[in-house]
Symmetry: C5
Subunit: 281 residues, 5 copies
């Protein structure tokens, strides 16, 4: 690798290859900060209005959270629910790979392949361990598959991955529908009990307050947790698909031994204007 | 078969073929456990609040359950409703075939066909009685159909099966919309009766409690039974489609007499990373 | 025809051709029974609660039924609304043709054409008067059109028919949205009148009961009549499309002079497992 | 033209060409009658309940109608809103061209072109001024464009026209969502004002009645005006697309110099059974 | 350029090229005027009803606006939210390019290329700096790319741009769903607090009024700000896509060295009738 850098300073460009490798999988503060702010807003409103203790009711918590988890589990398999849980935790902090960085990596590799032949890439595969999709695409190319097969095989993987992500987001989306329904069921239980016992007017208010708590919990769970994380998962999946498409464009360009400038042109059409790469200038 | 195992210990691999056959059609605890937990949560909330007997009202049960079944039957044919009922019961306990197992079976058969010729598969068809789709695909291949015809014929079956599953899920989905509507109708009946009879204030509470019961039943039926089982059916249908696609990939690979390593590559693109098979290493 | 049966007892099979002709257009009890049960449930709940006369209010009936019909008519043309009404009445009792029967008819005709030449079918066209789509498909085939043209022409008809059925179902679907809206409008009228006249508390209950009646009527009309019949129409249209596709497969097979066993294979892929035909065994 | 009629009485058929020209753009009573009936129903319910003057409140009218127009204008451009207004007024009375008539015109022209050559049509173009799409299609054909180009060009126009109609319908659809929202906002304003002023119980009823009026207006506007007219526009657009497709089929048939009987066959596949034309019998 | 105008007065037509350049990016009053009118309507209703100060409650403002921003941020990344904010501000005042003007520019350039060769366009590229998409399309054409590649590359950019715009509109669409949810959560907090403290009946009204304020704010934010601006963004994106398609048609026509009259024909099929250009008459 050292020898390789010496013989061609351009390809060595460690600054171009390494930082992206580090940047990918960055930390995404938007989700955690957003969640924190939203929770603070709600808690602030509760504390300002007084009597925060009246917002805590263990049976209500149980029926909403337990019921939501149970019904969501019914709708899917245990494996999918736990995969969605992992995806949810990952979505809290994980930032998907940057398409501009992916474009630069694809261009670096395409240029190296152009100058030294596709076989030369073999030595660089070990650098790509953190990018399994790119690694797999290039392995097929190096194995000598024709471009049509590379495209069909890796497109099939892009689609299957996107479908899997969609399913994980679907679990959360489903949970965001179940939570208000469980809240409504809990409130109906409370209302029926209160209405059957109207003799003591003094208890009507507090009973009804408790009955409304499950609706409140359901709304919180759905709107502050499940729905935004489902959107986030969908969004991250779309970003990952874009990155994979850029890697596939790069692998195809190498496979067809095209001019990397054509790849730059192609890759720039899918990047937002502000992120377009200018590799060859 | 014994002779066959001896001549080629690799192909015989009983451990590879038999366990999957057993595992397919496994028992799925998620649905039953989820349902049980959700019901326990609701019953717990009712018992904790006291007066559980006030949650049982036979006319309300009749109008919601009877009305939901009747209206759902109106929307479909009797045959479809009973097929959906069977699908619903099956979804409660049945786990769809595992795509990783399907991939391994497809690879085992492809390797056998590669080494001994497609005709050799004839002897193994009887092992596949529990997998009618794979059996039918291989029969067509052995009958000498060209790959395009195998693909068109079996894709048509995959689509038709998926459409049928979608219809069964649709029946439950429809029932999950009808149940709250019947609950609302029951509650409106109760409200009109109560409002026409406001003279005795002591009866307002209990009358309204009874009126709300149909809404409560409708919400339970829709959210704890029909909607999750509809999701489950859709999910199981998607899993079955994936398994069928893997079988079709295998049959096409045998038909085209391709290298099974290519099949492995192809099959792995549609499997989740954790379930990818490594048959040839 | 008699001579024809004698020369080939197989083709004559009157039992195979005639009963289907009779069975098609059968009587579908699901809709009427479902409607009857649902209505009985609601009436039962009303009678059990007492004061059934308080559920009848002519102005409320007028505003909901009249308003729903008027607004639905606004959304479409008079011709479409009356076509949807006929389709609605037909959906109440009519069972669409059975795809398994259609498959058997297609196979019988394909075998006859195979053994005696497509021209021979000319004599049998008169038997098919109850199946205009099949009749038209075969006429084009006998006129000597190439298979591509048969496929394009009849696929265009399948699509146009499906679009027309979708429009009729759309009229009912629209009515099922309009009815609750008219119910809400009626209830708002009643509420505004009641609230402007709160001086006599004794009239509040009955006034509000009457105001709620339009919501009740709207919910009944939408959920017990329009929505299930719209689903039924869509379902019947899907069944008819399937039957037409089977007929088209048959006509194409005759046009291409293919082996009818291939047709059997193809037709079985679109039939549910329990309805698959075994014509050639 | 006179000479032309004489030489071939068939082509001259003035009864076949002229009446359609008159019938197109007919008057559609369904919308106006539907609107009138629905309004009469609502006014009847108001008058029967007494105190019709309590249903008129100028500020409520302003906030709902003004707010709906303003917010709809925000969502689109002024040009689109005014185009949608014109489309709305047109949908009130205008009946789209009849596809059966369009089919007959296409067949008449195709037969004339068949018998006397496409160039002959030049003389008849002036008759088609009321059918700009047909006029433009035939002009391109007469200019000698190949059928593929005729199809691509005119299909592009069909799609663009359909997209424009969809946008106009979308403006009304949007207005039908905005109106209830403005109604809710008005009601919330009224409720907050009433609740802040509970001291005088005598004003609660009337204040709440006024607060509900905006919800009532919003529901009327959405369900009696915007939603049905949006459906009507969509429906008329679908009918116009069908007519344009028939004209395009005719132009293509003339361009390819095909037998007009084939055109009849093709055109009948897209017409409803009751409207099918029998031109050549 | 001066010399160029002299040699061919037609091509020089400064009036045809320059005014469009100025008109593009015009000012769109519909959004601001619509917003102003809607706000005036609501404020008018508040002031007319008296006690406008009771509509201002800082904690309610905080929980709705802060919560909506926070939850929307959770659903996306910070970059996307800020891009959506910029898009929102731009949508307030910016009018997308006029397709008729774009058509005229494309025709002017196509005619110039036709008469003096595509290479001649090089000199005019600097005029197109305000139209980056057209500039890029023509650069590829001048670089000698074949038409298929021009079409594939620039179509990919059109799709990627449309997807980006859709995402920005999606952020606002999401915000318009979150705002009422936060309003509901705030109202539930207020209701629970009020119900726990029913002893003093004098505070019920004002407490409930305050509780309703968050619902009111949520409805205002969603229906007067986020939803209309999301529609506006979608609409502007559709208009921009249309303009880009016209530019692409022009670039392809130049690339294929076709007759510009064909371009006029093609471009007119996608323009609304009132905006069709008559360049060659």
């Amino acid at each position: 690798m050292a020898e390789f850098s010496q013989s061609d300073p351009r390809l060595g460009r460690p600054a171009a290859v390494t930082p992206p490798l580090r940047r990918s999988g960055g930390f995404d503060v938007a989700t955690l900060v957003g969640l924190a702010v939203a929770v603070v807003m709600v808690i602030g409103a509760i504390v300002l209005g007084g009597a925060p203790e009246s917002f805590i009711d263990l049976p209500s918590v149980l029926i909403v959270i337990g019921g939501t988890v149970a019904v969501t589990m019914m709708s899917y398999s245990i494996a999918e629910v736990s995969r969605a849980q992992r995806a949810m935790l990952k979505a809290l902090v994980h930032r998907p790979a940057d398409p501009a960085v992916a474009a630069e990596i694809a261009l670096t590799l395409a240029e190296a392949a152009r100058e030294r032949g596709p076989m030369h890439l073999q030595n660089r595969l070990s650098d790509l361990r953190g990018r399994p999709f790119l690694l797999r695409s290039l392995s097929i190319v190096i194995d000598g598959a024709p471009p049509e097969e590379v495209e069909r095989t890796m497109s099939s993987e892009i689609n299957a991955t996107a479908a899997r992500h969609a399913r994980s987001a679907g679990v959360l989306r489903r949970a965001s529908e179940v939570a208000p329904a469980m809240g409504l069921i809990g409130t109906l239980v409370g209302l029926v009990q209160m209405l059957g016992n109207l003799d003591d007017p003094g208890t009507i208010g507090p009973s009804m307050a408790v009955a409304l708590l499950t609706t409140f919990y359901g709304a919180l769970l759905a709107n502050l947790v499940f729905a935004p994380l489902a959107s986030k998962l969908e969004r991250n999946a779309a970003a990952e698909t874009l990155v994979h498409q850029i890697y596939l464009l790069g692998a195809l360009s190498i496979c067809r031994q095209e001019n990397p400038r054509r790849l730059e042109l192609l890759v720039n059409t899918v990047l937002p204007p502000a992120q377009r790469v200018r590799y060859f200038d």
